[in-house]
């Protein structure tokens, strides 16, 4: 698993937009056996083998205090104050925008020729305790990265048609 491909995907994904350029995404790329064991103890039984066999499992996380970096990331306005006074807005903004960035990363990894599978089937509080003891970073989702075996894929599940979930006004 070439690390350079993962870093190239990150750099491509970084170009995607976030609200006030807040970029709350943080990543831990788990590949060594000891770290993988710590992560496996937090994963649901149905996802255990997926994480165990992935060359890399990314913990797609966010910085709860992302707004402290806004004077650098969004220098033309005092956006920091929007969040220091409203912790619920800060948490929602971190979740929304790290999810956007996580989606950019999924597509960028695939654009690099890698396969990846995101997962929500794990105990986020346990991952936080195992990897982010300070409490500043929080786990959003896990992302297995590698080269998949296409012979073992399930068929694609159904998708909504446009008219079922979208309307013009």
């Amino acid at each position: 698993m070439p690390e350079a491909l993962v870093q190239a995907a990150f750099e491509l994904a970084s170009l995607g937009p976030t609200s006030a350029n807040c970029e709350p995404l943080r990543l831990v790329l788990v590949r060594c056996p000891q770290a993988k064991e710590r992560l496996l103890s937090c994963v649901s039984s149905g996802n255990y083998e997926k994480v165990r066999t992935a060359p890399i499992t990314a913990i797609v996380a966010y910085d709860r205090e992302f707004f402290e970096l806004l004077p650098r990331l969004y220098p033309h306005s005092d956006a920091r104050g929007w969040f220091t006074t409203d912790p619920a807005l800060a948490e929602e903004t971190a979740l929304r925008n790290s999810s956007l960035q996580g989606a950019y990363l999924i597509l960028a990894l695939r654009a690099q020729g890698l396969d990846c599978g995101p997962m929500s089937g794990f105990d986020a509080a346990k991952v936080d305790a195992a990897f982010f003891p300070g409490g500043r970073w929080g786990t959003n989702f896990l992302l297995n990265i590698g080269y998949g075996d296409r012979d073992r894929l399930h068929p694609r599940l159904p998708r909504f048609a446009f008219d079922e979930v979208a309307r013009w006004e």
Copy 2:
């Protein structure tokens, strides 16, 4: 503004993964003057002109009761029960996954040659009241869609380097 391009982008974005294939994204594509007026009354002053001049502004929303569709979308398991018993998990799942889908849509629109700009600078409660009186759909973010004037773009804001926000373990 060809509607077919927007629908093609939606169909491309639909292929992206969501947790348990839950697909909570819902879209209202605002283009008629009356609907645009309703939306403009909910937007912050700094974003007013962006919404006013966009040929289409999409309300990127989510279905709070997305789980009612899981027997169709994820038929091999009873995933509905994961959410009916845990409203906070349902809300977080809707926000996370509609954000992923919103990011797929941003990139799909751009892949279709359109320009688009997502925005969080608006009053979500007012948009919900104006467009989703039933309370089942909630607004995630707004997305202006059209063809931008490149001469009037601001320079790209700074991005984090890989080593600043990611680590190998």
